[in-house]
Each structure stands twice: as C-alpha cells, then as structure tokens.
Amino acid sequence: MVVLCVDGVDCYYGSVKVLEDVRFSVKERDFVGILGPNGSGKTTLLRSVTRTLKPHRGVILLNDVDVYTLKSSEVAREMAVVPQDTVITFNFTALDIVLMGRNPHLGRFQMEGERDIAVARKSMELTNTWHLAERPINELSGGERQRVIISRALAQEPKILLLDEPTVHLDINNQLEIMDLLEELCIKRGLIVLAVFHDFNLAVRYCNSAILLKEGKIFSAGDVEAVLTSENIKSVFQVDAIVKKHPFTNSLYVIPVSTPKAPLSRNLSVHIICGAGTGTTLMKIMADEGYSVTAGVLNVLDTDYETAQLLKIPVVGEAPFSQITEEAHRANLEMMSKAGAVVLTSVPFGFGNMRNLEAVKEALEKGIPTYVMEEVPIQRRDFTKGKAGKLLMELKRRRAIFVMSQNELLSLLNISEEKLKMAEEVPTKIPGHLKPEEKPRQGDRADDVKSSDHRG
C-alpha cells in the first residue's frame, strides 16, 4: 500500500510564505484534485512534493520515508510528474522522450533493453501516441506532445502521478480521453493521481477527493462534493457559482456566474414578470446594468426563482407547482407599484400564472410604463385556451410597449432612464417614460415570429 503524506508543510519563495501548514494524505486509488485561484499555492504544493522546493517546516512522507532523504532515482520510481508545459531543447523523437522515463530503472552504464521498449510502447499505446513514436517531438502538436509527456510519466511505472493542469493544452476530446485514462489507471492499477485543475467540472467529474487552497492554506479538503460547494467557491474565488448534479453523468457540475465589475447605479427600478427560465438572462443583465430589479410571482422551484435568489433580487414567491394565490398576487402588485417600469417576458401561460398577466394589466392602468417581450408568439405559449392571448391583445390596446428582443428592451429602458434623469433636472416637464411613438409594428410580425421561433 503506497501512501503519500504531507504533514504540516510551510514553503517559502525567498521570504514570501506560499504554503502554510498544509497537511493531507493520499493512498492507493485516490484521485485528488488540487484547486484554488492563481497564486494560492497549487503548483508550489506539487513542487514541494516532487522535491523541487524544500519545505521550511513539515515533512513529506512517501511510505513513511521523508522524500528529501531519498535518492532522485528512488523517488522517480515511485512518483512521476507531468508538468504544465514542456520545452524540449533538442529534437528527440517521441520514443526517445518516453524512454527517458525509464531512466530511474536503468543503471548508469545500462542501455535500454527489450522490457524498457515494451513498457514505453505500452505507455504510448495507452495515450494513443504509439503511431508518433518516430516523429521528432518538436513537430508534434501541443496536444500530441502533452500525451507523449504523459506516456513518459507512465513509462516510469510510478505509483503516484502528479499532474499540473494536465489537460490545459488539450482540446475537449483529448481532455476527456486523458482523464478517462487516468481514472482507469487509478481504479484498475491503484495509481494515485494528484492533479492541479483549473476546470471545476473536470475536477468534480473525475476526482474522488479535492483540496481547495486559498492563500497557501487548505481552505477545504475531503470528498469532492463536500469541497466544491457554491459557498466554498464564493469564499475562495469570489465568484458566484451554481453547483448542481448533472442528470446524465450523475456528477456535480459547476457554472460560475460572473460578478459585475463595477455596478452602474441607475435610478430606474424594474419589476420583471417571468418564469420557466425566460427571465434568467434578463435578470442577470439588468442587475449587471445597475437597474434595481424585482421579480414576481415565481414558483419556488422555478429556474427564474433560483436565479433571483442567487442575484439577491427581491422576489415574490409562491409554493412549487401551485397557482398564484391572492396573497402572492397582492404582494406582487405591491412590489410592482414601487417600480419605474414593468417587463413581461415571453413566459408560457397556464391557468396557474394567469394572475401575473392580470397584474401587468393593472400596472398599465396605474400608468407604469410596461414592456412586453414577444420573442415567442403567444399562440405557442398559451395554455389557457386563448384567454392569455386575449389579455395580451388587451395590453397591446392599452399601449404596452411590445419588444422583440432583449437588446431592444434594454435600449428602450436606457432611453427612458435618461429621460427620467432629464426630467428630474427640468421639473416643468412631465416626469415619466417614453411614450410609444407609434403603435408597434404589426405588419412584419409574421416574419419576426418565424425568425425567433427557434429561440422559443
């Protein structure tokens, strides 16, 4: 049983402390991902394990022996390293490079023998590079070269494989191929894999445990699903992320949501009526643009509801899969009356959320400028036997502003916001919003519908 144990390691570059009290241990069949932002000490950790950077404090034990007391060749027989990038000075062939992996097994005066070639061949076949054996290494593509380098590591016949962002130069199919290979080696041959990742999704898909580093310290370590939570990602990377279980792969997946660089502040508050995911991108964009956004009424399990929660948008919620109750409706109207504008997305209507449409009508009656997005024609999303369609026509008559796209909506809101500002400066003018200059174009509606069909 091979065990690697890192115990209380402190590392310095000069006088700068880059690792502090790092301790963990890995054993056979562990597939460990090391994650963390740039400069958090991931590569340093690998370098201290591979004896490139000696820790000031603490020990690294390989099978209970301090690695810094071992000979280079002894370590190299147990532990192989795949670096981030490899610059090869002289133009060796791919096979030459892989055979260099046999070095720790060869005596100083020994030439490679049958077995060494056989091991090299096997390693190259595993990474699908045997056909490149006689090609000069510097003529290979980045991906091919990286696979050759991995073969070289495998040719060492190591028990532990350390990789520093192994797939960073590879395209997506090569990434998966290499990761599948590593997983297989890990499961079938008990290889310990310890790899630095930038890609959360590769990490969660393949690793069984993870180490999350922050500023040189272990922030969280253990089972990958326990480590990669959106809270941890938020506090280590300062990035909001959605972490969900993927229905096909049954592993977690992580979607980082970018945070706005410098939120603009705008005076206009916008109430969005959406649902079924139709408001997700809109809420995100509007929030980034600096509008104060509210939303309602949304069922609790709705995607839009989750987005609103994530973006910390005030929202009127309703129990999952249930009709909008009178209570929620009233709360919605209440919230809406405070808004400077109301937006209705191309949400599908059933009897459950008809009340939202009625709320829009009331907003119009109160004189709140109302924008209706019609990316998908109402006929295709009306599950109320035409009731919703009729109500929508009613809104149109009452001069709701119909828009065909998000961009159109945003530019109209922008204009009205500017008018609002001007109105504040010149109080004689009536404060308010852009009035629709003309009735929405109806003649070309049919064409627009077709062109936007696929988006529905």
Binding site: K71, V75, A76, A80, F90, N91, I97, N103, R108, E134
Partner: protein
C-alpha cells in the same frame, strides 16, 4: 484503411530502435579508423619532404612484433627525428585538443541548453590567456615536472577562473545555468582586459603573447602530450557516463530531477570535467576558437541529439578536424605557418552555414 505500422511489421519501431545501437558501434569504428588515417596522413605533411613509405616504415618499426618482422629499412636519423620528435607530438596534440574542445562543447551546450555555448563559456580561455601572458611577461623560467612555465600557468589560471565563475553563480547548493552563463561572460571580459594590459606592458615579448593567443601547435613537445593525454582521455571518457543525463537535462532541470537525475550533482561533475579537459587542451595549444562551438553543432545536425552517440562522435570528429586543420596550417603558405585557429574558422564556418541552410527545417537547438 491500412495502418502504416502493419506494413512495416508489428515490431518495426522496436527493431529500428535496437538497430540504432549497432549502427552507432559501426559509426564509431569507422570514425576512429578515419581519425587514425588522418593522423597518419598528416604525419606526411610538412616542410621537409619525406617519402610516404619512409613514414610508414618509421611507424611500423615501432610496433612490437610487427617491427621486428619488417626489418630495418634505410631511414635517416634526421627523417626519423622529424617524424617522431617534431611531427608526431604535434599531430597527437592536435588530436587531443580537438577531442577535448569538441567534447567540452557538447557538454556545455547540453548543460546550458544554449546554442552559443562553447568550451570556453566559463572563462577557461580568458583565464588561460591571463596565466600564459603573465608567465610570458614575467619570464619565469622554472619548470615543473619537466613542463615549461607557460602551460602550467595557463592551466592553473584557467582552473582558477572557472572556480571563480562557479562560486559567483552558486546559490546555496544550486548553480543556476543562466547566472553561470552570465558570470562566465563577465569574468571573461574582465580577464580579457587584464590580458590587454599585459600586452601593453609586454614590450618585446608582445609577439609571443599574440602568437600564444592565436593558438597553434608549433612548440608542442612530447612532454606536453604526455602531460595532457591522461587528463583529456580520462575527462572525455568520463563525460560519456553522463550522456543519458545530458539527454534528460534537455527537458529542463526540474523535469530531469523528476526523472531521477541528480541534477546539481551531475551538473557540477560535468562542469568540472568540461573545464578540466578544456583547460588541459588550452594550456598546450593556446586559444583555438570555433572547434568547441561548431563541431558539436555539425555533429548534432549529422547524427541527431542523443548524447550517447553525440559525445563520442563529436570527440572523434573534433579530433580529426583539428588534425586536418593543423596540417593545412603548416603547409598552405609554406614556409610560413598560419595560426591553426584561422584555418578552423575559415573551413568550419562555411561548412556549418551550408549544413544549417540544408537542414534548417529539422534542426532546432
């Protein structure tokens, strides 16, 4: 679709790989024979006209057993002296110096991963120049184990120069190659300035210094050869044991460490061997440029980057090349001798450029 591998046989690549080893052996035997032939032919070259068969007799006579068989032909004492006491040591010195410079050049290019590296990179040449110039200017007349002052001073001061360069670059137990390279250049420039000063104050001995700096084998005697032979042979052959390490070092020092090479130890040993060998060569020949830079490159273009074959072939080719250059230098504007460094540069430069142009696609350093 037919896979190419199926056509070449399943074990095509493996067989080719092992065939390479026997090809290497053959190559070395051929090159060694070529060197012997070159040495023999260059014994025939010189101001005094000595017939070919006479030279052959003189040599065969000295071979045990074979010598007694051929009997005693009519060879004059003068001819024998010219061949054995004048030409022979000089030709052998050329062979030794060429071997040393080329081997050290390969080693340094391997360690530094820099195509500009040559055998003089660590200040060996500048150090030797200071020592030799100083000995010439001061005119110190003592001898040491039968050797004259100038080679000893050159050898000693070049070793000191390398020692200084090494210690300037040392950080703890490590020696970063970039620092080594730069401090080598800095120390060389500094020492060259001292040589310039010595030249100015040399007065009537100026021409002696200038000739020494240009390099050549005019004054080489047997005792010089005997002094240098063990150092060069031992040093050069010792580097071969680190050929695989040099291969791996070309992947970068960190990677080499991961592949089980004790990088700092190997580097230190190779630097010592390279300096020792170069210093020994320079002490008897003066500064002969180009061999330590161009021969490794030419050999690498011709046979590839594997140091296991590159080192020995480079040694033999360097040896052969310098023997030829010296022979040419002796006779091309006879009776005046050209400095051998002129010949190495004039012939090696264009040939190198030709190879570089011809093979530039596949040649990267």
């Amino acid at each position: 679709m037919v896979d190419e591998r199926d056509l070449t046989g399943k074990n095509g690549v493996e067989t080719a790989y092992f065939r390479r080893f026997s090809r290497w052996k053959l190559l070395l035997i051929i090159l060694m024979a070529a060197l012997m032939l070159t040495i023999f032919l260059s014994l025939n070259v010189g101001f005094a006209q000595i017939p070919f068969h006479t030279v052959l007799w003189i040599l065969v006579k000295r071979v045990p057993f074979l010598g007694s068989l051929v009997g005693s032909p009519n060879v004059s004492y003068v001819e024998e002296t010219i061949i054995m006491q004048i030409r022979m040591p000089r030709v052998l010195a050329g062979a030794l110096v060429g071997a040393a410079l080329a081997a050290a050049g390969v080693v340094y290019q391997g360690i530094f991963k820099n195509p500009m590296a040559d055998s003089y990179i660590l200040g060996v040449s500048a150090g030797a120049a200071v020592g030799a110039s100083l000995a010439i200017v001061l005119g110190i007349g003592f001898t040491f184990f039968g050797l004259s002052t100038v080679p000893i001073a050159a050898f000693a001061s070049s070793i000191i120069a390398v020692f200084v360069v090494y210690n300037i670059s040392r950080v703890g137990s490590r020696v970063p190659v970039t620092t080594l390279l730069l401090s080598g250049i800095a120390v060389s420039i500094f020492l060259s300035a001292i040589v310039a000063v010595l030249q100015v104050v040399a007065g009537g001995k100026l021409h002696v210094i200038v000739f020494w700096l240009m390099g050549g084998f005019s004054y080489v005697e047997w005792r010089d050869v005997w002094a240098v032979l063990p150092l060069v042979c031992f040093g050069t052959v010792a580097t071969y044991f680190f050929a695989r390490d040099l291969n791996i070092l070309s992947l970068g020092e960190e990677t080499a460490q991961h592949l089980g090479v004790d990088v700092e130890k190997v580097k230190k040993l190779l630097l010592i061997l390279g300096s020792l060998v170069t210093a020994a060569a320079v002490s008897i020949s003066g500064l002969i440029g180009f061999v330590g830079l161009i021969i490794p490159h030419i050999t690498r273009i011709l046979i590839g980057p594997d140091h296991r074959i590159l080192l020995p072939t480079s040694t033999i080719i360097g040896s052969t090349f310098l023997v030829i250059c010296d022979a040419v230098a002796r006779v091309i504007v006879s009776p005046v001798e050209l400095p051998v460094g002129v010949i190495t540069a004039l012939s090696g430069g264009p040939f190198f450029i030709y190879l570089l142009r011809k093979k530039k696609e596949s040649y990267t350093v």
